[in-house]
């Protein structure tokens, strides 16, 4: 969208359960439309800054509306490595609550019309319209994803200029966020799952020594360990969510191990189940019939009930544990709050750990 063009006439559902239209914001002197999405790590890192813009200008006649442009089914599993939630409207409602997104957050993942009309390419990306709702600024929010290194607050400068009746000095900048997932990417996202589902599946018998070794976490990485059994309803019920979690984070600094507490003679049944679940994680089965001995070999403090799920630090510290039914979101948030940052997205670990601390 070229500078000077008219704002898109959107009518989209928000996380507040209401539909929001362009005309709803007619009284605002300035309208800022930010494209952001749940899974997008760049959106997450800019979230605090978007919140600050919203808060500091809302009483000055500036309306800020966020639109999630991503097609939920087009976000591939390996693009979910920095998020607890997907990009559907229900996911967005949960995310808005957990991440304290207090500004209007609208879903446009079905038709993606707003993003197309705006000509947006990444999240976050901001479009600022004047009182006549003509575009006066488009592009990045500021010049560095790492807030401590920001020199030029481009969006804020544009808003300040418009409020002062001045021309916007720099009207167009390039947004370098997370690329938008267009609906055309659905086939690719499906193909990635299909490929994972062709990966070899195996289960090894774990001796007492091996269990003790797993507990000490020799992987050098963060480690999720899930104890389960085929006869355990909650275990088999939560297993697909666990495998999805594994698939989301496996390209980061995380190893994922399942340990079946079935009897070693039940290996065939355990394998049947793992195959059905396409569980290409690292899978083990107790090598001895005595569950008490085997549990104690893993850890003398091991709780007796299954399922049990742990997140261990590289030094073996327990960072998260759940005895009984897993709350998948809590596990994902614990993983996100602990995994060290990648080069691409510095500040992710801090973002998630501060959310956890609030």
């Amino acid at each position: 969208m070229a500078i000077g063009a008219s704002a898109p006439d959107f009518d989209l559902p928000g996380v507040d359960g209401k539909n929001h239209k362009l005309s709803d914001y007619a009284s605002a002197k300035i309208l800022a439309i930010v494209l952001e999405s749940d899974h997008s790590p760049a959106s997450q890192l800019y979230e605090g800054r978007i919140g600050k813009l919203y808060e500091s200008y809302k009483d000055k006649g500036v309306a800020l509306v966020a639109i999630s442009p991503d097609s939920p089914d087009a976000v591939a599993i390996d693009q979910m490595a920095y998020t607890d939630e997907g990009d559907g409207l229900e996911d967005m409602k949960d995310a808005a609550e957990y991440r304290h997104i207090d500004w209007p957050y609208l879903y446009d993942g079905d038709k993606q019309t707003a993003a197309k009309v705006l000509g947006a390419t990444t999240t976050p990306e901001i479009f600022i319209f004047d009182q006549a709702r003509n575009l006066q600024y488009r592009g990045r929010i500021d010049d560095n994803i790492d807030e401590s290194l920001v020199k030029s607050r481009d969006a804020q400068s544009a808003i300040d200029a418009l409020l002062a009746g001045q021309p916007v000095a720099v009207a167009t900048t390039e947004a370098n966020g997370t690329p938008i997932n267009w609906a055309s990417g659905k086939a690719n996202a499906q193909a990635k799952i299909a490929k994972i589902e062709t990966e070899p599946i195996s289960v090894s018998l774990a001796s007492k020594d091996e269990l003790g070794k797993i507990r000490s976490n020799p992987t050098g990485k963060y480690l999720v360990v899930n104890f389960w059994a085929t006869w355990c309803g909650p275990c088999v019920g939560e297993f697909p969510d666990l495998q999805e979690t594994y698939r989301m984070f496996r390209n980061r600094d995380l190893t994922f191990i399942t340990i079946s507490e079935n009897d070693p003679t039940e290996k065939a049944g355990v394998m049947d189940f793992l195959r059905k679940e396409h569980a290409s994680s690292e899978n083990y089965l107790f090598s001895d019939s005595n569950v008490y001995t085997m549990q104690a070999a893993f850890d003398p403090e091991m709780p007796g009930a299954v399922p049990v799920t742990f997140l261990f630090a590289p030094n073996g510290d327990v960072l998260y544990q759940q005895v009984g039914d897993l709350d998948t979101m809590k596990l994902r948030r614990a993983i996100l709050a602990n995994l060290p940052d990648t080069k691409e997205y510095p500040g992710e670990q801090k973002y998630w750990s501060s959310l956890a601390g609030n």
Binding site: C232, N262, Y292, G304, A305, A313, N315, D325
Partner: protein, 439 residues
């Protein structure tokens, strides 16, 4: 210093002070050991203080750092604690209290449940403790801690029914559970006071009603491999006025189904309601194959029709049966005998029932052919049910309205045990045998 962890723990007002202090120390322990291990400078933080590991630095056998923690929401009663008071209804319809058993030299409280396969595996051992010690001044009582509303259908793979009081009464009659069996599923306050981790989990109190043992009943789920009778050893020691050799062991079984976690039941049903519903036409030859059952599964075949009110009434019970056992070597097939022209109405009904299993509709009006396919017992009227084991072995068949629990028991007695220690198949076989003798 892990500032996130520290700040969070100090803010958490509901935690006792001792835990808050311990938590701050834990955070420190982590930071220093992370440096030792050459970890990046970023500080790990647990995601949620209420369910995360943080709290006490135990880590027995591990030196330092954050170890595995007990359930902080429902902590296990510490050894030496006085017996928690309770007032609970039993299967005898009476209210039972702690004070009622004040004459007993030793009181053993065992948490057990209907649905849990581990609890089922231990039922005979609980009976034996009750029998062997009841004349020696030892009172054993059982408490079901589970709220039936928090037990999902997919947790019912080894049982005919779930954990409600009416179902406890049925089970007690079937299995001659003649020790007091109390229901705490309503409020779960007693289970919370004990910190019942799982079923089974046993707590043994001395004459002063101080806790002297808690944990497992013995050291092997497989009764043939038991070496240490932990619960009996504790009782024997108390009767002899000796200290209990091992006071605390891990309890193993099905986690207590806390009502606070009951959302899983709703989620399960929502997922079931999204499953596809299909209906296919079936010929007499198709039914002959089903009757011969070349698979390794036990199959329930349910004949029904839209005209049969009993069929419509009990259809839901069959669907739940399918949902309970479908992860095991089990299948269920519904066969509508409505005329082929009624197909859309049949499908409508199946949709209403979220019948996501195999649904067939007989493709002709030739009831003789159908009778020839499935057998003489079928008198061309519905409802009619067959439970067919591998190799076409009909283990149960019945025309007319059925007791769904009876169908389920025959299924449970027909599916082989998953593992060597369960004995679920034998358990249900013995129930059927006892019922057969009674009839």
């Amino acid at each position: 210093m892990n500032s996130f962890g520290r700040k969070r723990y100090l803010r958490s007002a509901k935690w006792p002070l001792a835990l808050v202090c311990a938590a701050a120390m834990v955070a420190f322990a982590y930071a220093s050991s992370a440096q030792d291990a050459g970890q990046p400078a970023s500080q790990p933080a647990a995601a949620n203080p209420s369910s995360a590991a943080g709290g006490q630095a135990t880590g027995r056998g591990r030196g330092r750092g954050r170890g595995i923690q007990p359930d902080l929401e429902h902590p296990v009663l510490p050894i030496g604690s006085p017996a928690p008071d309770f007032s609970l209804e039993g299967i005898d319809g009476k209210i039972h209290t702690l004070g009622e058993y004040s004459n007993a030299k030793v009181l053993a409280v065992v948490f057990e449940s209907n649905h849990c396969p581990v609890s089922i595996a231990y039922e005979e051992r609980i009976r034996a403790i009750y029998q062997d010690y009841k004349d020696k001044g030892v009172q054993l009582i059982a408490i079901n801690p589970n709220n039936a509303g928090a037990v999902r259908l997919n947790e019912l793979g080894y049982t005919d029914s779930t954990d409600s009081m009416p179902e406890m009464k049925i089970r007690a009659a079937l299995r001659h559970i003649d020790w007091p069996y109390l229901y705490d599923g309503e409020t779960q306050t007693t289970a919370a006071k004990f910190g019942a981790v799982a079923t089974p989990h046993i707590f043994i109190f001395d004459q002063d009603r101080k806790l002297r043992y808690e944990g497992r009943i013995d050291d092997s789920t497989d009764i043939t491999k038991v070496k240490t009778q932990d619960a009996r050893n504790a009782i024997d020691a108390l009767l002899a006025g000796q200290p209990v050799p091992v006071a605390s062991t891990p309890a193993f079984g099905c986690s207590t189904k806390w009502l606070s976690k009951a959302t899983g039941v709703k989620e399960e049903m929502e997922a079931i309601m999204k499953e596809p519903v299909n209906l296919s036409a079936a010929s007499a030859d198709d039914l002959k194959k089903i009757r011969a059952n070349a698979s390794d599964k036990t199959v329930v075949v349910e004949f029904w029709s839209l005209k049969c009110k009993d069929c419509l009434d009990e259809f839901h019970d069959y669907e739940n049966t399918y949902r309970m056992y479908r992860r095991r070597k089990f299948d269920m097939i519904t066969v509508s005998t409505d005329s082929p022209g009624e197909q859309s109405k049949v499908l409508d009904f199946l949709h209403e029932q979220y019948a996501s299993g195999t649904n067939l509709q007989f493709d002709s009006a030739d009831t003789k052919a159908l009778q020839a396919a499935v057998g003489e017992k079928w008198k061309s009227s519905e409802p009619f049910v067959m439970v067919i084991g591998p190799n076409g072995n009909v283990v149960f068949q019945k025309a007319g309205k059925v007791n769904i629990l009876e169908v389920r028991r025959h299924v449970l007695a027909s599916i082989p045990n998953d593992g060597p220690w369960f004995g679920v198949q034998e358990y249900w076989t013995s129930v059927i045998k006892a019922e057969g003798n009674r009839n």
